[in-house]
């Protein structure tokens, strides 16, 4: 199997459930060793994409390769880790037993099970509760266990579907550290998350998906090129506010106008235009665009 092939490559991958189109022609490439953020609103097709890439559901059309092999290849699954969004493990087993079962199913050499399980438990901070039944775990602990399951066997590719949905801030920090650790050892990470600040902190590259197709993708630098400018004004009529749209997309909230994609060089022109229309400028705050700004901007553009 060629090591030079991408971790994931899809061509016009689509999925329909009856009349509902869950995924409409997904084409993307995730290089090996990268942390790839997959973003989108609820129902955009993120989890469907992960299930397709794992071979849990069959595509309606299109093609996809994971680690150089067609999706669903049994041999490839040995080198994949997966934390589902709906994380659930045998609650009648202990965490140690759950991990051992996954070592068996992976399958990893029996001689490595002890070290693998010990290491995975330590990484996710469950060593002290290793011999407690999963049924006694909190949701956050069960999600940590799911992460430990995904880490077994030093996989080449790990799918994390909303990996911090049940975690507290400390747990989220731990997950970010784990993702950085995976990237450091060359594991590609496919991260589905609603927490955009989290994605921004750990991902090398992101794709934004909406209505089942990618509407933007690239590295963080490629995506976050604009400046967000927040201006506090008074004395502007609704009509004159409307004319400011020539400076870019505006979010209005009381006396605050936020320009979501404005070049910093045009800030003086903006202030001059407001004053010329009889407005008074109380505050101008320019800042770099965040992933959340860009995400919302992309979705609004898509809607319009």
């Amino acid at each position: 199997m060629a090591a030079g092939t991408p971790a994931i490559h899809t061509v016009e991958l689509s999925k329909r459930f009856g009349k509902t189109v869950a995924l409409a022609g997904l084409s993307m490439t995730v290089p090996r060793g990268e942390v790839f953020g997959f973003l989108g609103p609820n129902g955009a097709g993120k989890t469907t994409s992960v299930k397709l890439l794992l071979g849990l559901i069959a595509p309606s059309s299109g093609e996809a390769w994971v680690l150089g092999r067609p999706v669903g290849d049994l041999g490839t699954r040995r080198r994949i880790g997966y934390l589902p969004e709906l994380f659930r493990y045998q609650h009648w087993l202990t965490a140690h037993e759950v991990l051992t079962v996954h070592c068996e199913l992976a399958p990893l050499p029996r001689s490595s099970w002890k070290d693998e399980v010990t290491s995975a438990l330590e990484t996710v901070g469950l060593t002290d509760r290793a011999n407690d039944r999963v049924g006694t775990y909190s949701k956050g602990m069960q999600q940590r266990l799911g992460l430990a399951v995904a880490l077994l066997g030093e996989p080449d590719l790990v799918f994390l579907d909303e990996p911090t949905s049940a975690l507290d801030p400390v747990g989220r920090h731990d997950v970010r550290e784990i993702i950085r650790g995976l990237a450091a050892r060359g594991t590609a990470v496919f991260l589905n998350s609603h927490l955009l600040s989290e994605v921004e902190q750990v991902c090398d590259r992101v794709a934004v998906v909406d209505h089942g197709r990618v509407i933007a993708s690239g590295t963080m630098d490629q995506l976050l090129t604009g400046t967000v400018v927040r201006v506090r004004v008074s004395g502007l009529t609704p009509a004159s506010r409307g004319t400011l749209a020539t400076f870019g997309q505006i979010d209005e909230e009381g006396d605050q106008l936020t320009f979501t994609n404005l070049n910093a060089d045009r800030v003086p022109d903006l202030v001059a235009a407001i004053v010329a229309m009889g407005g008074r400028v109380h505050e101008v705050v320019p800042r770099h665009q965040t992933l959340e700004d860009r995400f919302l901007q992309l979705l609004e553009e898509e809607e319009s």
């Binding site: 459930f17 559901i57 997966y82 087993l93």
Partner: protein, 287 residues
């Protein structure tokens, strides 16, 4: 250990950890204890004139009572198999547990066969264990041992496997409750259809008789139950039934002949078909 055996082991482990096995063992011991006391009363009960029943009378009464007790056991086994098999796959799909399992290099056929094997082992252990205990208790209480005890265990155990197979097939598509209820209703309908078929035999009406034949082919639980009955009937009962003509065959608690070999071969094929159908159904299901 191959994946199919890991899944089978997990199925047995789950039943054990959830205390299903413990509950069945305790209930079985209670039933065996009470029935041993009851069977013992047959030998000491007196007629109005103060005389004790003869050895032959004890044998006949015990054989009939044993058929009734075994019917209860087979009912418990069928009910347990249907209720446990109903959610065997569906509950793990609904809860999300199956997601992380199927992301491993494991075929869906291995999941289905592993679960069938795991639950099948439990059904076989329960059928053999409870039957041996009950037969030992009856032997101790009355000195009666049915003519074909091994066949009896095999027929009752196979009846449990029939319900397990049906429940598992339904579990690949339907929720646990729905699958369990359908399996139970199917079991009862097959039993009633078997009785209808027997009435057809009694009346020598081919169309009515066919109802039983078709039901025995579609769901062989009643056909196997008839085999279990035959295995428990002493010669005296069989002779009476045979001299009674076709009408003697109309009872739901009697059997004049054992299930024919071609029918038993069909039952083996039926198990294979059910497993194949379950594998196909689960393989084409989107998780």
């Amino acid at each position: 250990m191959p994946p199919v055996m890991v899944i089978a082991r997990l199925t047995v482990q789950e039943a054990s950890r959830r205390r299903l096995l413990l509950a069945l063992v305790i209930l079985t011991l209670i039933v065996v204890g009470f029935s041993a006391w009851g069977f013992n009363k047959i030998t000491t009960i007196r007629r109005a004139d103060g005389s004790l029943p003869s050895a032959e009378e004890v044998k006949v009464v015990t054989s009939q009572l044993l058929i009734a007790v075994t019917f209860m056991y087979s009912g418990v086994l069928a009910l347990s198999a249907a209720v446990v098999a109903g959610p065997l796959i569906s509950s793990e799909v609904e809860s999300g547990l199956m997601l992380s399992m199927l992301a491993r290099p494991i075929r869906r056929s291995e999941v289905v066969i592993g679960k069938w094997l795991g639950l099948g082992v439990l059904v076989a252990i329960y059928a053999a264990g409870s039957a041996l205990l009950e037969l030992a208790a009856v032997d101790w209480a009355t000195g009666y041992v049915p003519p074909h005890p091994i066949q009896l265990i095999l027929y009752v155990g196979s009846e449990g496997l029939v319900l397990l197979s049906l429940g598992l097939l339904l579990s690949t598509r339907l929720s646990g409750i729905t699958g369990g209820v359908i399996a139970l209703v199917a079991w009862l309908m097959a039993w009633i259809a078997g009785i209808v078929g027997n009435i057809g035999t009694g009346l020598q009406n081919q169309a009515v008789e066919n109802v039983g034949t078709i039901s025995h082919l579609l769901l062989p639980s009643d056909g196997l139950w008839r085999g279990a009955i035959y295995a428990m009937e002493p010669d005296a009962i069989l002779t009476t039934l045979r001299t009674g003509g076709t009408f003697a065959r109309a009872s739901p608690f009697s059997a004049v002949d054992p299930p024919p070999v071609p029918y038993l071969a069909w039952v083996v094929v039926w198990f294979g078909l059910m497993l194949a159908l379950s594998v196909w159904s689960f393989r084409t299901r989107e998780i």
